[in-house]
């Protein structure tokens, strides 16, 4: 893997006659060929690879020449040793490409200086001074010291792994505590303060609109499109409608819908003195189960009030969607002229420039006791932190009680209680974000990089209540500040976790938690790599049939072929898990007395469980040679595969990456074919992605102070599975494909390792 090795362009060797330059540019020619670009494992492997040359240099020249040859065959056989050892045999020289031969010729000069090909060039440099003896192979570091380091890493592997894991978990828990959490602050200049005058006073009007809306809704049984159109037009908006329809892949049991059709109504308030190049959105999702009448009423009253103001620099779109998020998705796709989910919808008749920010509103009562804000969007995307800061500043200004994840923010951060409460909020957010589901209509806007929030009115048993005027004023203030925006929101953080509404942890501070966990995988991989190397001290060819070399002892190493089988089989298993449940639902419903949705979930579980029987089938196609090296190699590949996936996930959706790492890493590191197999098996099953999901559900309800019984938990688990598949098909959520195509096959590899024969 040349890019692990720094500047190693073979062409740099070719033209230059300068021995030293060329020599120094060539690190030992150990062709590490590992399919990874992940930094931690690669770094670790690099240490491992660099520790090899001294060992291999003790080998006989002949064997080393074999090494050169077999390197194309076996992935991690190091091509190392002094140059005079390498490529010595004519056979090897014939086999390796032109590139290597050129390199060798250039590199052999220091050992045999008499055959320098272009003496003129060397003389041209005026180097009359004899060159100092060059270190063997031009290594830039001391091989002895490196070997010592490698031995140290090997000897202390287990404690280091434990330490790293504990550090990762501890770091995560510490995120809620003050040195790591920081106060939020507004970064955007244009929204610097709350210094705007809120004049909204249409509380009575909003309630009137809400009553009318509810009445018309009851009458028509669906969204009263005509009434909405009329009312929006009467308050002075440009009104348009959009109809859409969508057939879900299988019936949605929780919302009871299959063939979905609906109409979105939206009105545009044109900025009186600006070109319609930018816009803001206020949206209210109406669904079969969420009435949201008061939200519609407030939206209309706000529209009427906004219409009377002349300071708008951006158009404002007032959007009421039917079928809650499906309507939002249809409208967004039509607005951005894309079709990512197979939605059928009529094109939009009216547009209003690029959407700068959006607020979604959910209100189902005339008075509220608090406002809850939701930030987590599709696939764990988050809006720019400044938008949340804006909400928080207006909460403070209006004296509103605002919550995050339904939790009030602790007042006292100096004692332990505050951060502990923050930790609960943090965990809730982590679970919510890891689910990858949009936590409100705003979640779908984030895909189009439109910063968005959902604000929910909560009406609980508290004494003090706010009416619609207070909520309307907060919204008015936010819109007026957003109206001042000159650029997209970009000044503040896009990656953060929130222990409270006014506290955040930035990406630079939370990533070490995931980094420590992934380090465990790296350390384990390093250990395996070294063990593999030691086990293969007498390196041989896997095939043994090629080349006119002397007869070889039976191969101890494992060829690529022996790894291909388990890899392919588990990957195929993942593909089946991804495709079959939805594809085969009709077959299942014909043969079993279940509904489609149940069929999907049960097929899902069946395929998942069937994967556990995999080791029996994979062993049939595998050669029985070298059992020891076999599982080591497989585990090495699995570790790197897992580390790679988790690192990528953690970068984009930290919560998901961290949760998966926290559960999968210990089992993955411990898995071993010898030892207490049932124990390992139990551990592996308990930390498989599905079990993690189940555990997360329990934890989630526990944190919400609504603990689940086992039966409820199981029901919720089945519903969550169905929802996960549905979310993928309807909104493009990526959790399901990630688990099915990425982590489940990877987990199966560990299962394979455990039951290695």
């Amino acid at each position: 893997m040349p890019w692990l090795r720094g500047p190693r362009k073979p062409s740099s060797c070719l033209p230059t006659p300068d021995i030293r330059t060329c020599h120094c540019q060539q690190p030992p020619c150990s062709a590490v060929f590992l399919p990874t670009a992940l930094f931690i494992p690669s770094l670790v492997l690099q240490i491992g690879a660099f520790s090899l040359p001294p060992a291999s240099s003790q080998r006989s020249p002949l064997l080393c020449s074999r090494v050169v040859y077999t390197s194309c065959h076996f992935p991690w056989r190091p091509l190392s040793g002094p140059p005079e050892y390498q490529f010595r045999s004519a056979h090897a020289r014939r086999r390796v490409g032109l590139r290597e031969r050129k390199c060798v010729r250039a590199r052999r000069f220091p050992s045999g200086r008499r055959e320098a090909p272009v003496p003129g060039a060397a003389a041209g440099r005026g180097s009359a001074v004899p060159e100092p003896p060059l270190p063997a192979m031009g290594l830039l570091s001391d091989p002895v010291r490196r070997r010592a380091l490698a031995r140290l890493v090997l000897r202390l592997n287990a404690p280091l792994c434990v330490l790293s894991y504990v550090a990762g978990i501890a770091w995560f828990l510490a995120l809620a505590f003050p040195p790591l959490t920081q106060r939020t602050y507004m970064s955007e200049n244009a929204m610097g303060s709350t210094m705007v005058e809120e004049q909204f006073a249409g509380g009575e009007r909003a309630r009137g609109f809400a009553r009318d809306f509810a009445a018309h809704r009851r009458k028509t049984g669906a969204l009263p499109v005509a009434w909405l159109e009329r009312t929006m037009r009467s308050v002075g908006l440009e009104v348009y409608t959009q109809s859409f329809s969508r057939k879900l892949p299988f019936p949605d049991e929780t919302r009871e819908r299959y063939m979905v059709a609906g109409t979105n109504v939206y009105g545009i308030l044109r900025a009186p003195r600006a070109a319609s190049t930018e816009s803001l959105v206020l949206t209210v999702p109406c669904g079969p189960d969420s009435a949201n009448s008061q939200a519609v009423g407030l939206l209309l009253a706000l529209a009427a009030h906004f219409r009377g103001q002349i300071y708008w620099a951006k158009d404002i779109i007032f959007l009421v969607t039917e079928q809650d998020l499906l309507g939002t998705e249809a409208w967004l796709e039509a607005y951005h002229d894309t079709n990512v989910t197979g939605m059928q919808s009529s094109p939009l008749q009216g547009r209003a420039g690029a959407i700068q920010a959006a607020l979604a509103l959910e209100l189902s009562s005339d008075v509220v006791t608090s406002l809850d804000v939701a930030v987590e969007g599709l696939n764990g995307q988050l809006p720019n932190l400044d938008l949340l800061n804006l909400f928080q500043t207006f909460c403070q200004k209006g004296g509103l009680l605002c919550t995050l994840q339904g939790k009030l923010q602790p007042q006292d951060w100096t004692s332990v209680d505050g951060p502990l409460q923050g930790l609960q909020t943090l965990l809730l957010m982590t679970l919510q974000q890891a689910s990858g589901r949009p936590h409100g209509a705003h979640g779908l806007f984030l895909r189009y990089r439109v910063e968005a929030l959902t604000i929910r009115g909560i009406n609980s048993f508290r004494q003090y209540k706010y009416d619609l005027v207070a909520v309307g004023k907060a919204l008015e203030g936010m819109f007026r500040k957003l109206n001042h925006l000159l650029e997209r929101l970009h000044q503040s953080f896009f990656f953060y976790v929130l222990p409270a509404l006014s506290r955040f942890v930035s990406i630079g501070l939370y990533m070490p938690a995931a980094g420590f966990l992934l380090l465990v995988l790296g350390l384990k991989a390093l250990e395996l790599w070294m063990q593999l190397h030691e086990a293969g001290a007498g390196p041989q060819e896997a095939g043994g049939a090629s080349g006119p070399g002397p007869p070889l002892p039976p191969a101890q190493s494992v060829g690529l072929a022996s790894l291909v089988a388990p890899l392919l089989i588990s990957q195929a298993m993942g593909l089946a898990l991804y495709v079959l449940p939805v594809l085969g639902q009709h077959v299942a419903t014909q043969h079993f007395p279940v509904a489609e949705a149940e069929a999907v979930v049960l097929t899902l579980l069946a395929i998942y469980a069937a994967g556990l029987a995999l080791p029996h089938s994979t062993h049939r196609v595998m050669s029985a040679q070298a059992p020891d090296r076999g599982w080591m190699a497989l585990k090495l590949v699995a570790l790197i595969y897992l580390a790679l996936q988790l690192a990528c996930v953690a970068l984009t959706n930290f919560s998901l990456g961290f949760l998966l790492a926290a559960t999968m890493v210990p089992a993955a590191a411990l898995t071993h074919p010898c030892g207490p197999r049932p124990l390992y098996a139990a551990l592996l099953v308990l930390t498989s992605p599905a079990a993690t999901l189940l555990g997360c559900l329990f934890l989630w309800r526990e944190l919400q102070e609504a603990p689940l019984s086992l039966a409820e938990g199981w029901q919720l688990f089945l519903a969550a599975l169905a929802q996960g598949v549905l979310d993928h098909h309807t909104y493009g959520a990526l959790l399901f494909p990630l688990l099915a195509l990425g982590l489940y096959p990877c987990w199966l590899l560990f299962w394979n390792v455990l039951f290695w024969k």
């Binding site: 005058e197 003195r273 620099a313 001042h484």
Partner: protein, 381 residues
């Protein structure tokens, strides 16, 4: 009859005597007045007013500049002598709830946008290059006169700048900045090109004092809203408009200037006191070491107005004869010198020496009454 005649003679003589004594008294007063009359030495006034910030939330910088514009215009500098540079148009910004106004005071008390504002350099024309070209007069020939600073060596120039700055620089728009060294060199170039008589530099920005500390050309008085390491702060938050309307320093300067009328005898020392730390929060600074006159003799209207001096007198004023002699003598000497030495360009360095020479000439000039054009053009030698 005789007696009465005598009495009348006596009275006349007495009156004459009295008149004489009064006359001599009056004459000394008039001499003083004359001296006062010619004290400032400028014949025309110019103003370069620059706001370097754009975007709605920098409303206050535009209001700052417009408030100075309002004052200098009210005190008599015509639009033709004002180069107004505004980086953004707040009056017509769609976010402005009161279109076609820029307020300096809360509750819409004072609209500094007024009825006619002639903006010479607007929005993206406000660049460091344009600013320096305006100052130094290195402008393409096609540039209209309204966009030029057509000052001469009898011009008193007011340069007012506001924007976002730091230690040693002032940001222009969002893309570039002018450093204090560049600014000092531009003033030196103006001096060498005889583009000003005296220059008053005022800057309202964070760490404003850093902008004038590198000046080295003569006859510059400089004021800043804050010391190095200090922020300049805003004032007049207005929820209806949704932004801060002014910066503190300029707000109090405006309050001060509103009290000035063309006949005011208020001097620069009063301007220095205009915004104590208790009001400004920052510490305003000023620099007078390059200035030749005592600030207390410098009227505010020397810079902020275009005041034609008119003194009505019934007396005949005899100008000091030696002044005229001096001029002719000086002229002769100069002509001789010029004849003897071949013409050559001035040495660019060392600058200090040049300043010294020029200073000597200027002082002579002040004493003389005429503006010797021929002499002026040959001064560069």
């Amino acid at each position: 009859m005789v007696a009465s005649c005598f009495l009348r003679k006596c009275l006349t003589a007495l009156a004459g005597l009295l008149l004489l004594s009064f006359g001599s008294l009056a004459a000394s007063q008039i001499e003083d007045q004359t001296e006062q009359f010619f004290r400032s030495g400028h014949t025309n006034n110019w103003a370069v007013l620059v706001c370097t910030s754009r975007f709605w939330f920098n409303y206050r910088h535009v209001a700052n500049t417009l408030s100075v514009y309002r004052s200098v215009k009210r005190l008599g500098i015509p639009d033709s002598h004002i180069v107004l540079m505004l980086a953004d148009d707040m009056a017509c910004n769609p976010r402005n709830p009161k279109p076609a106004t820029v307020f300096s005071h809360k509750n819409m008390e004072l609209n500094v946008y007024g009825d006619d504002v002639e903006v010479d350099y607007r929005s993206y024309e406000v660049t460091v290059e344009n600013f320096l070209r305006v100052l130094t007069g290195r402008i393409p020939p096609s540039t209209p006169r309204s966009k030029r600073l057509l000052s001469d060596d009898r011009s008193n120039i007011l340069i007012y700048m506001t924007g976002h700055g730091g230690n040693g620089f002032l940001k222009f728009q969002d893309s570039e900045e002018i450093t204090n060294i560049e600014l000092a060199d531009a003033f030196e170039q103006m001096w060498q090109k005889r583009r000003y008589n005296e220059l008053l530099f005022i800057i309202d920005t964070c760490q404003g004092a850093s902008m004038y500390e590198r000046f080295y050309s003569p006859n510059i008085m400089a004021l800043a809203s804050s010391q190095v390491g200090e922020d300049s702060l805003s004032h007049q938050p207005d929820p209806a408009i949704g932004v801060h309307l002014m910066d503190r320093y300029t707000f109090y300067v405006l309050e001060f200037l509103e009290e000035i009328n063309p006949a005011s005898q208020t001097n620069m020392n009063d301007l220095f006191q205009v915004c104590p730390k208790s009001l400004c929060v920052s510490t305003p600074g000023h620099r007078t070491d390059l200035f030749q006159r005592d600030p207390k003799n410098v009227l505010i209207t020397d810079f902020f107005g275009s005041v034609r001096k008119v003194e009505i007198t019934t007396e005949t004023i005899r100008l000091q004869p030696d002044l005229g002699n001096m001029e002719s003598r000086y002229k002769k000497e100069w002509m001789d010198e010029e004849l003897m030495e071949p013409l050559k360009y001035a040495e660019q360095l060392p600058v200090a020496q040049i300043i010294h020479q020029k200073l000597a000439f200027t002082i002579l000039f002040r004493i003389s009454f005429s503006t010797p054009v021929v002499l002026g053009s040959s001064m560069r030698a």
